[in-house]
């Protein structure tokens, strides 16, 4: 279980660019929850994910993962609990290193790294098996450099890397937004297979309202650094895009004016 209590974060404090990106954020994520996150530009979706991952220190509040207070832990220490896939397909893999090297780096997420050989022989079988799940033929290309792969392939590998060692929480930050529609659909299908198949706990930011409604068991909507709408179960099942737009206007008191979201309904 992940618990976020009264978390706030202000960027550029004391300057003209001051912005309260997270404003008294509260969220409880139960084990096995697959939560989709929507909201306009600058609503704080990515900031929330980054705050959970520890990319920057928060100003106040508490973040607990399975009862452990990680609020003051740096990013690399929280990596033990968290798997991540970024929006930019280039960001999640090391281009100059081989596919199997990338996987072996991910296989040791959160573990102490010593002077043992970076890939043990028996690991290769695991990597082959996992790669074959992607259905991209990458299991035959273990020693190819990741830089040779397409953006979609790289994103699929990143997804595999983030879940290779079961994370307590998987953070997906618009991880299909930079891909072409067909590839995005493939990566999204893989995401569902992995998250639902292994009953992972995940937060997925998306700009696509249909996806947000169709995927997962919970949905949260953010605005100005807070969660303004939080549904789960049957109520979420019955949601429509119109409902979401209406909710947004009702909760935030402003007209929904995000081209990307309106276009993608």
């Amino acid at each position: 279980m992940i618990e976020i209590k009264n978390v706030s974060k202000t960027f550029n404090k004391g300057t003209v660019n001051e912005k309260r990106a997270l404003d008294n954020l509260n969220l409880t994520i139960n084990d096995g929850d697959f939560i989709t996150v929507i909201g306009g530009n600058g609503a704080g979706k990515s900031t929330m994910l980054n705050a959970i991952a520890g990319v920057f220190p928060v100003d106040c509040g508490k973040i607990e993962i399975d009862g452990v207070n990680v609020t003051r832990d740096p990013e690399f220490k929280r990596a033990k609990y968290i798997g991540r896939v970024f929006q930019d397909p280039m960001k999640g893999t090391a281009a100059g290193m081989q596919i199997e090297e990338n996987l072996s780096l991910a296989y040791r997420r959160g573990k102490r790294r010593g002077l043992g050989w970076q890939i043990k022989a028996e690991e290769r079988e695991i990597y082959k098996k996992e790669l074959s799940r992607l259905g991209l033929g990458l299991e035959e290309r273990l020693t190819d450099r990741v830089g040779l792969l397409s953006g979609g392939q790289r994103q699929a590998v990143t997804l595999l890397m983030a879940t290779l060692k079961r994370p307590q929480l998987l953070l997906l930050d618009e991880h299909t937004a930079a891909l072409d529609p067909a590839t995005a659909a493939t990566v999204l299908r893989l995401t569902r297979e992995i998250v639902e198949g292994e009953k992972l706990t995940a937060l997925m930011v998306t700009h696509n309202m249909k996806d947000a409604i169709a995927i997962g068991n919970r949905l949260i909507m953010m605005d100005r650094g807070s969660i303004i709408y939080n549904v789960s179960g049957d109520e979420k099942e019955r949601l429509t895009v119109e409902d979401l737009l209406h909710k947004f206007e009702e909760a935030s008191g402003t007209e929904f004016s995000n081209d990307r979201m309106i276009l993608s309904r």
Binding site: F76, A79, F86, M90, G92, L105, G110, Q118
Partner: protein, 325 residues
């Protein structure tokens, strides 16, 4: 002719011993993507520490190892400035390098030159016990050291820590998200690199029989030049061990060119300019070539006219245009 042979041999010995420094530069420049300017200072530091230790009666092997550790410490200083205090890597290196100038003078007791004429060194030891010349002895010791260093680096960069270090240079965001403290990996890399550079300085001082406050001037540029030469000559090698080897070969070629240029009457002091031009050219030419090719390839004509003619009957484009209208 024998004169030329002697020059060649001397240059190769020099190239091999400096090659250890190039391996150090390779770690920071190629693997970590940081041009570490500590090199000029840590090279001299290795030489100073080693000569002073030998002169005060320390065993030459131990003195050489002291040179290595001195370099390691210098690298750690740069590493701490860069990681803990977030000073940009280039500036952190410059700060250490400038500071080391004073430190090196202190170590040598205020003298800018520290001769090793009457004392035993690792090289004179080999030369006396085998009967080979000083420069041959330097070559033998150098080759042994280079083989050991390349083998050790090959092993290290294949380990879990070594892989994390390479990943730090490749994609720091990724490896941090996978639980690696990149401050540690950078610190290890900078220390390791400058340790090798200090070792190289210690060996070069023993070969030339003196340490000099200016012996490391331009070391980083020599290192980059050697790496570039090695890459051009052996651009097809993929194996990491061979890549390291190519950097040492680059160092040998560099000192050969330099020795011949001096034989032809070139001033030694001009070598810095030539090294700088060589590195600048090696970095600039690929960029200039790309830009020139892009410009030269442009044409107003429809390059794919034949394909378009073939597909226009399929009405694909016509449909799309209709949709727009």
């Amino acid at each position: 002719m024998s004169g030329l042979l002697l020059v060649t041999q001397g240059a190769i010995s020099q190239g091999v011993l400096w090659g250890i420094m190039v391996l150090g530069v390779y770690i920071t420049y190629k693997l970590l993507d940081i041009p570490d300017l500590t090199a000029d200072g840590s090279f001299t530091l290795g030489g100073c520490v080693c000569t002073v230790a030998i002169l005060s009666g320390v065993n030459p092997v131990l003195a050489t190892i002291m040179g290595l550790f001195a370099g390691l410490l210098a690298g750690a200083v740069t590493g701490i400035l860069h990681t803990v205090f977030e000073i940009p890597a280039i500036l952190a290196g410059i700060l250490t390098q400038i500071g080391l100038w004073s430190v090196n003078l202190r170590i040598m007791g205020g003298k800018s030159n520290n001769p090793l004429l009457q004392t035993e060194s690792m090289i004179s030891f080999v030369s006396e016990n085998t009967g080979v010349s000083q420069s041959q002895a330097a070559l033998i010791v150098g080759i042994i050291l280079v083989v050991i260093v390349i083998a050790a680096l090959y092993w290290f960069f294949g380990t879990e820590v070594g892989a994390a270090l390479r990943a730090t240079g490749d994609n720091a965001d990724m490896i941090r998200a996978l639980g690696v403290n990149i401050n540690n990996t950078k610190l290890i890399a900078l220390s390791l690199s400058n340790g090798l550079i200090g070792l190289s300085g210690a060996m070069v001082a023993q070969m030339q029989k003196y340490a000099d406050i200016n012996m490391g001037r331009g070391a980083i540029v020599i290192g980059l030049a050697a790496i570039v030469i090695g890459e051009v000559l052996m651009n097809r090698v993929k194996n990491f061990g061979f890549k390291l080897f190519s950097a040492v070969v680059g160092a040998m070629i560099y000192f050969l060119i330099r020795a011949y240029a001096i034989q032809l009457g070139l001033n030694v002091n001009d070598m810095q300019l030539i090294s700088a031009l060589l590195v600048a050219a090696a970095l600039a030419i690929p960029v200039a070539m790309r830009k020139w090719r892009e410009k030269a390839a442009y044409t107003e004509d429809d390059l794919y006219a034949s394909e378009h003619a073939a597909s226009s009957e399929g009405d694909k484009h016509a449909d799309r245009d209709k949709g727009r209208a």
